[in-house]
């Protein structure tokens, strides 16, 4: 399983390095989302700073939709996913590999996006340990849930539109908890023991487990 996971993750990251979809397109898109939010919500100068963590996680959420759609699209071209079944690749390995590949891409994206938030919204950053930990687990949770749900949607002929529908409601706890955890981190009131962080950890663990358990059935079903 670990071996297969490494194989899949390496393949997906190689394809990303070659096509640069995340770097050249999803990342700029995330920035555009940041700008557009500012457009739509520009009421008074303080507002944006106040809701900055929420907007950051919204931008991450929309980017992660694109990211997981892309990871599934890779397997749908020329039915490569069926190939994985024929080759007897371990189901858990496929799941883990995809999660790792998505995680790596999203995490890098978030680092850059954070810079954007600081510059565009004039947010201050602080509470690093909590911030880092919450980002880590939130991203892990998003990746795990995203890969599972986009695979669920992939059988449909209209997967592009089904993924957001299925995934966004599921991911909204991450959105909420990520936002709150960041707010806590920024206000400096909380440490690693933050309850929102705990929620994020639970979410990540649950979705990793669910994915590991059910991914096989989704692939076979």
């Amino acid at each position: 399983m670990w071996r297969d996971a490494r194989l899949i993750a390496a393949k997906d990251l190689k394809i990303e390095l070659r096509t640069k979809v995340t770097a050249n397109q999803i990342l700029p898109f995330a920035f555009v989302v940041l700008i557009v939010f500012a457009f739509a919500l520009d009421t008074s100068p303080g507002t944006l700073q106040k809701v900055a963590p929420g907007l950051f996680w919204l931008a991450v959420l929309f980017s992660s939709i694109l990211s997981v759609e892309r990871t599934v699209a890779i397997e749908l071209d020329d039915n490569a996913g069926d190939g994985l079944l024929v080759y007897g690749v371990d189901h858990g390995g496929i799941f883990l590999g995809k999660v790792v590949a998505v995680f790596v891409q999203l995490f890098l994206l978030e680092v850059l996006l954070l810079l954007g938030v600081v510059v565009l919204y004039g947010s201050k950053v602080g509470g690093w340990p909590l911030m880092l930990a919450s980002t880590f687990f939130a991203t892990l949770g998003l990746s795990a849930a995203g890969v599972t749900y986009s695979q669920l949607a992939s059988a449909s002929r209209a997967k592009q539109t089904l993924v957001p529908l299925l995934f966004v409601p599921v991911a909204s706890p991450v959105l909420l908890a990520g936002t709150k955890a960041w707010q806590d981190a920024l206000s400096g009131t909380s440490s690693i023991g933050d309850p929102w962080l705990r929620l994020l950890i639970v979410f990540a663990v649950v979705y990793l487990a669910l994915g590991a358990i059910f991914f096989g059935s989704i692939l076979e079903g």
Binding site: K20, P28, I35, F39, D42
Partner: protein
């Protein structure tokens, strides 16, 4: 290869822009007086409006070159390269506008950034041309890329007049037209106006120099590509012989391996 004349011109433009920028710096930092209200900060006026203006100029050149490519009678891959080079320089100058504006904004308005109409439309301009460059960066047929990016570049240019007019159309925090105002009579005077004018000229020269440099690189890359293409054509034309040899050698039998009629 570009002609020697081109290279000499480029070097001349380069040296001139160096001298001009140096003069602007001297005038801007030491000769001109500080402002009554803004103090030393006012010196940014010799940089910030000129770089914004040069960004407009760059996108204007991109648009003209794009039209020339789209129009069948003047179609030439050089226009595409020019459009791309100019857009790249334009993105750099738009970035500089944003940066110098932000630096100015912090002391002047108390914030690095605010969602004022001028600022927002400028940010959009930046993103629009980033999109243009992203569209160019996806691997595609050179003609197809040229057509598509020309269209994207032309459409993006619509934002330029909007940025310029934004201070008029919306009530904004940002300075309204001081220099490039409708009556074309600058509202600042004396050596400040002179220095500002010099700033415009010197950054225009810097732009010209960067553009020439970028265009030369692009056209050299294109020449390499063209040469590679010629070579690829010849290689591909030889494919049948190679194919034949491969079969021929492997079989080690001269009798039954005659090439089909060529």
């Amino acid at each position: 290869m570009e002609s020697n004349g081109y290279r000499w011109t480029r070097k001349l433009v380069g040296s001139l822009s160096l001298i001009l920028v140096a003069a602007t710096v001297v005038l801007g930092l030491w000769i001109t007086p500080p402002d009554v209200v803004q103090g030393q900060l006012v010196r940014l006026i010799y940089v910030h409006p000129p770089v914004a203006w040069v960004a407009y100029l760059a996108y204007g050149v991109t648009s003209i070159a794009s039209v020339l490519y789209l129009w069948k009678r003047t179609r030439n891959i050089k226009w595409d390269l020019l459009a791309a080079s100019s857009a790249e320089v334009g993105v750099v100058f738009t970035g500089l506008t944003l940066v110098t504006g932000s630096i100015w904004g912090k002391p002047a308005w108390g914030v690095w950034w605010t969602w004022d109409a001028r600022l927002t439309t400028t940010a959009l301009l930046f993103v629009l041309y980033l999109g243009y460059l992203a569209l160019r960066s996806v691997p595609a047929d050179s003609h197809q890329r040229a057509v598509r990016s020309a269209i994207a570049g032309l459409i993006a240019f619509i934002d330029v007049p909007i940025v310029h007019q934004s201070v008029v159309w919306w009530r904004t925090l940002h300075q309204s037209a001081t220099v490039l105002n409708p009556s074309l009579s600058p509202k600042i005077h004396g050596e400040m106006a002179m220095t500002l004018l010099l700033g415009f000229i010197s950054f225009t020269f810097v732009y010209a120099w960067m553009l020439m440099h970028r265009y030369e690189i692009a056209s050299m890359q294109q020449q390499v590509l063209d040469a590679e293409l010629e070579q690829m054509i010849q290689e591909r034309q030889r494919e049948p012989e190679l194919e034949f040899q491969r079969v021929h050698v492997k079989d080690g039998n001269d009798q039954i391996n005659q090439p089909s009629k060529v």
